[in-house]
């Protein structure tokens, strides 16, 4: 047998850690253990350098100037769009729109496609495990249009697909579902969700805020109509994200915001709008962070998504194994397919108390409802403690979490 080269399949986590300067800092006298990656990831040096490089060397407004700096800035801005196109395997660059993040992407679809296509009595389907940003825009739209918002129920972190099938009808105009639950880490069967929705004649939006960093994203294979994600959860900067939309839908949709950049010709009487993707990019965009997005996506791709995923799954398995041994601890969400998120509650202890005491030991976790209050209501809990792992986390850090938890529990009970 030819020996397989296992080294190349494994992530050199200690080399990776060297690239994240924030991991060197101390919190309350302890080395930082950063387990709040589902909220936002830390940034590698290449991303930080790219931001400094942009402002140091080629800061200029895009698409307008004929001078060198403007050309360089435009080239970098558009190269980043191409990198994003590749990252999600969109069919064309016209389908890739820069936004402020996932939330703005969802709102853009609600305010443009939604306002044009949703009528009184129409139905929009979401799920019980949505982040508030994939609930509230649709509630606003439904209220305005007299449409009805329905939610696919879940049980123990798994969407009930039979219930979903029952909700689908000719009245269903849009299905908007989260790819990966931010509160539980559960991976939803989006291909199946999209196929069923299309059979019912509905358009599908996928919230990719949590999935983009962990899973290989192929919007063409998924066949979703819209897909949104944020750079800051993929080791990139805050304030920039991507909305993907199928070209024929984006072309037919009304504009979102009016201003410069999104126009072809303006007279006082009338404006003709620019072509895709600029039609949806009014005003001077967040050029710097858009440019830096490419550095982040390249960093993830070069490190290797599969390698990262294997490492993260190993961390999740190890953490889960350790966590369940703590008396009174209950993991919330037992989906078979999960990304590296461990969400849990401990009997008789409020998650907030755990969060405060872990921070005291330099361990950053998220506590609370994770902007998914309806999901917490399903479980009848005020919130959970969520530890979410990234490429730079280690088993040693999980050991520290476990020790921290044991100590916290001892203090609190």
């Amino acid at each position: 047998m030819i020996p397989t080269n296992t080294i190349s399949k494994e992530l050199d986590v200690y080399a990776i850690r060297q690239q994240f300067p924030a991991l060197n800092r101390k919190v309350k006298g302890h080395p930082l253990v950063y387990f709040d990656n589902a909220a936002t990831t830390q940034k590698p040096q290449v991303v930080i350098d790219a931001l400094v490089d942009y402002y140091t060397n080629f800061n200029a407004n895009v698409h307008r100037g004929i001078h060198t700096l403007a050309e360089e800035a435009t080239a970098a801005f558009e190269a980043s769009r191409d990198a994003a196109k590749q990252f999600i395997n969109a069919a064309s660059r016209e389908e890739v729109i820069f936004t402020r993040g996932t939330t703005e992407g969802i709102n853009l679809v609600a305010y443009t496609w939604g306002r044009k296509n949703i009528q009184r009595g129409d139905e929009i389907i979401i799920s019980e495990m949505e982040h508030h940003s994939n609930i509230v825009p649709w509630q606003i739209l439904c209220e305005e249009k007299g449409a009805i918002l329905k939610a696919v129920p879940q049980q123990d972190g798994v969407l009930l697909m039979d219930e979903y099938k029952k909700l689908l009808s000719p009245k269903t105009k849009l299905v908007s579902i989260v790819h990966v639950s931010n509160a539980l880490g559960a991976i939803n069967p989006v291909e199946q969700i999209v196929e069923l929705a299309h059979q019912a004649g509905a358009v599908v939006m996928i919230d990719g805020a949590q999935s983009s960093v962990h899973l290989d994203i192929d919007v063409q294979a998924m066949d979703c109509d819209f897909f949104a994600f944020s750079a800051h959860k993929v080791y990139g900067p805050t304030g920039i994200g991507i909305l993907y939309g199928k070209k024929h839908l984006l072309e037919a949709m009304p504009v979102f915001q009016g201003g410069g950049e999104m126009i072809k010709e303006v007279t006082i009487e009338k404006t003709t709008f620019n072509d895709l993707p600029y039609k949806y990019e009014a005003g001077t965009p967040n050029i710097a962070d858009a440019v830096v997005l490419k550095a982040a996506l390249d960093f993830v791709t070069e490190t290797g998504k599969e390698k990262i995923r294997n490492h993260e799954v190993e961390l999740l398995d190890y953490a889960t194994e350790q966590l369940v041994q703590i008396p009174g601890l209950r993991i919330i969400g037992s989906a078979a397919q999960k990304v590296s998120v461990a969400s849990f509650v401990i009997d008789k202890i409020h998650p907030q108390d755990i969060g405060i005491l872990l921070d005291n030991r330099g361990i950053a976790v998220r506590t609370g409802h994770h902007c998914a209050q309806p999901l917490m209501q399903c479980y009848g809990i005020p919130g959970t403690v969520r530890a979410s792992f990234a490429m730079y986390n280690t088993k040693e850090e999980i050991d520290q979490l476990i020790t921290g938890l044991q100590k916290a529990i001892k203090m609190l009970l």
Binding site: I349, Q352, L357, P382, M411
Partner: protein, 149 residues
């Protein structure tokens, strides 16, 4: 009796107690202990109208006005927050509306608990302080209105 001590006196007392601890663990241990000792609020007060908004954990706060002094009772489902509440009650309860409104509450900073006043913590210590001062202001205005009648 604590009723006879001024608000700044009680604040100083707490600062002195905390000066005995060198580690964060010890400080929190003490706060948790105070939280556990805070008398349980009767369920009849645990109403939505008594909830302090802006808290990740639930906090109920009720007040009473007797002989020109304001008395507070409170509870929470999180024990560290209960400990923080317990200190606020110890400092503010049993004083006149004016004393409560003017309280500087510098002890929170001096014992290193300012992080709990930050918005990011959203455990509502700030909201709690505001609510207590609002109660004091309301009693003051009500008394003033009564006197002018």
């Amino acid at each position: 009796m604590s009723e006879h001590k001024s608000i700044p006196d009680i604040e100083n007392e707490i600062v002195e107690e905390f000066s005995l601890f060198d580690s964060w663990d010890d400080k929190y241990e003490y706060i948790i202990d105070m939280g556990k000792k805070l008398p349980v609020l009767d369920d009849k007060y645990k109403l939505d109208e008594n909830k302090v908004r802006g808290c990740q954990s639930t906090v109920w706060l009720v007040s009473d006005y007797k002989d020109g002094k304001v008395y507070f009772k409170a509870d929470s489902d999180a024990v560290i927050v209960k400990g923080l509440i317990s200190m606020l009650i110890r400092v503010l309860s049993g004083h006149t509306p004016d004393e409560i409104i003017q309280a500087g509450l510098g002890f929170i900073q001096k014992i290193g608990m300012t992080t709990h006043l930050a918005q990011t913590r959203s455990n509502g210590l700030l909201a709690m302080v505001k609510q207590m001062k609002n109660f004091a202001l309301a009693y003051k205005l009500r008394t003033a209105a009564g006197e002018t009648k």
